[in-house]
Subunit: 426 residues, 2 copies
């Protein structure tokens, strides 16, 4: 995968960051500095019930910023739930800033609201092709302050929002540089009550962000782009590599502990760092096969109810869905960059015993970790059988934007093999 005129340029973007215990108490000040007078707070009912979004809204008053809270975010947003949020914003606006308080679902919904209250057209106009028209926003967006309450998604760092299109039974997204939050406020205190099951699944999302961007196609392997062809995800590069390596080291020291002992503030803090660092890495490099596979795994769920999540709906949480084919995906991509797969395994499990085939090391390290933190032992445990695999492969192949970032471009047969070997991982 080298070209006659190879790419020589990469881009790197990030939100401004405010990080640490108590950082979320300063949002009113920061909004005022962004020129805001009337802010829309976007959150989900679960977070709303904790009172946090209301407290965030209250403290804005001291800086003459008025808050209006929308707490109707759907966990794992859909086109319908995002349209409802946009309708709310249009009916209760205008706003001059948006604050997202919650997990990736709230932050992603806030991105869509920001886009569709500043630019005309419908959600479908902006969704990635081929599902949508892949249109780029023509107007600037409002300042968006992202306040994550789960350690995982990295949504506070990225330029994408992800949703289910209900009528098409497909998970897809919108990706544009203008969607990136202006400011990310990462306060580990907000994550202390996250249940163990959520810490495990969301942590696997962090881990896969780091691993997938570290093993992504290098930016130099693409053909030289015109400036208008540049996308936020430009492939592995020296900056995303650095963030990924650092995130892997942090996870090595904190992940098992944060799941087993959620009261450990040090482990929680390191997980929050890892989430942000991995977000800054993959938010510029991109992710590939495990994330592409996660779309149909989460989208076609029938009867699975994970611990730590709302009990009223069947779901495979995003991070869990991503992780379930990760060991087999990395066994498949090993050839493309053996040294990167080995180094990632060593960062994640320092001192791991290196026996057997080199290509098996990262899959083994991953499976050991997943077993220890209570992730299901494969897609079989969340309800899929070999009969589902053609459907799952079909869903993964729809994620061409992600698969294009893989270090080897997988065929339908390759994906079939990855799913088959992922039915039972251990």
């Amino acid at each position: 995968m080298t070209h006659a005129t190879p790419e020589t340029v990469f881009t790197y973007g990030s939100p401004q960051l405010k990080f640490g215990t108590g950082a979320s108490a300063e949002i009113g000040y920061d909004l005022a500095g962004l020129g805001a007078r009337r802010a829309l707070v976007v959150t989900d009912p679960g977070i709303s019930a904790t009172g946090l979004p209301q407290r965030v809204g209250e403290q804005m008053k001291a800086y003459d910023v008025t808050a209006v809270v929308f707490d109707g975010v759907h966990v794992e947003p859909t086109d319908e739930s995002m349209r409802a949020a946009v309708e709310f914003a249009r009916a209760n606006g205008p706003f001059d800033a948006i604050v997202a308080v919650g997990g990736g679902s709230s932050i992603d919904t806030a991105k869509a609201v920001n886009l569709l209250t500043t630019n005309d057209g419908d959600l479908m106009d902006y969704l990635n092709a081929p599902v949508g028209a892949g249109r780029a926003p023509s107007n600037p967006l409002l300042p968006l302050v992202a306040v994550p309450t789960t350690t995982g998604t990295g949504a506070e760092s990225t330029t994408v929002c992800v949703l289910d299109v209900l009528s098409l039974k497909v998970k897809t997204g919108i990706s544009h540089a203008r969607l990136r939050p202006t400011l990310a406020v990462v306060d580990p205190d907000l994550m202390m009550t996250q249940p163990a099951g959520v810490t495990a699944a969301a942590g696997m999302d962090i881990l896969c962000h780091a691993l997938e961007s570290y093993t992504a196609r290098p930016y130099t392997s693409y053909a030289r782009k015109e400036p208008s062809q540049r996308v936020p995800y430009c492939g592995a590069n020296p900056i995303s590599d650095m963030w990924s390596e650092k995130a892997l080291s942090l996870l090595a020291g904190s992940f098992r502990q944060a799941v087993a002992h959620g009261e450990d503030t040090l482990a929680r803090g390191d997980m929050a760092f890892a989430a942000t660092f991995a977000g800054l890495g993959f938010g510029n490099a991109g992710v590939h096969i495990p994330h592409a596979n996660a779309y149909p795994i989460a989208g076609r769920v029938r009867g699975f109810h994970p611990q730590g999540y709302p009990a009223d709906e069947a779901m495979v949480p995003h991070g869990m869905a991503v992780s379930l084919t990760a060991p087999e995906a990395f066994r498949y991509t090993f050839d493309a960059a053996p040294e990167r797969h080995l180094r990632a395994a060593r960062l994640l499990a320092p001192g791991v015993e290196e026996t057997g085939e080199e290509r098996d090391l990262l899959p083994r390290v991953l499976a050991d970790l997943m077993r220890d933190i209570g992730i299901p032992a494969g897609i079989g445990e969340v309800g899929y059988t070999t009969a589902d695999i053609p459907d799952l492969v079909d869903g993964a192949l729809k994620q061409q934007r992600l698969l294009a970032t893989a270090p080897k471009e997988p065929s339908a047969e390759d994906l079939t093999g990855i799913f088959e070997r992922s039915i039972t991982l251990w």
Copy 2:
């Protein structure tokens, strides 16, 4: 240095980056994306003579952006030279974007022009106290695209601009988050013709950025700040540490080679990375004693004329001035964080023989490097004697904003000792 209510929060900001060979050919496109129609290009006569700023201006036409070039930047800017640039911008404006093409002098002048054409008042109103009134801008600034042509200053990443106030014979600056460039375009091709002497001096600036931010007071050692008290330089933190470590490793592999063999594109590329990485680190953590000392060393120069710089004026280039007291400064700060000083020395000189006192390791590694790349052997070689030291100490003590970031706050006696031992380093 711990407090009853220690700081728990740090901030991190950066420009968007476009990095790589050819990146500077896309500035017109990027300006159009920032909404620009009429841009002021700020540069110095030396860079202007290469034709680069004019080429940058030309390529904007394809995107309907008009360029006006100001090529009167003074290398090592003064209050007079910055006022002249502001006058030019006022007389030829209005502009809706600014592009700085050059070294730190051009980028810093562009920051001042940006501030003073969007906010009222004079330069003195905004200079750091006690020299100026330390006023914060009340209006937003224009988008600023920084295109560095020397590998060193990191000015493309930072929130400061530095200048000589001629009437007071003092070097000082302006520091505010809004001064940070919107976009940094780092194209190693623009640095290939940099003379060896400039590569050496500017490289020592990179190195000291990395070392000083790595050894800066940790953000947690300060008292808890109110949000309005937060400054761009918040002390060493996990993000600045990562950038600093990576910059040190890159310098270890490329610095001597880039000075000795300027035609080595790989070494030049790694130096460009190191400059940007160190800028992203110190641009958030801060620098301390070597930079504070550099102000009077450069400001009180009498007859020194370095190789590779314009011959018509006596000068100690900024990076050289910074480096001349660095070995002794780090010998002095060693106690405050021995493990960081040792780790920095090992990153900069992997496999270095570790004989003698631990506190001497980093000074020795620095002196070895400085000798190899042709940096003067102390402040004596650039014209200072023991008789000048009270004056130099006085000048360094004026840089309270920098000294406050030192891991140990130096007294006048401490600084006297550092300067005395820096007259002859080897």
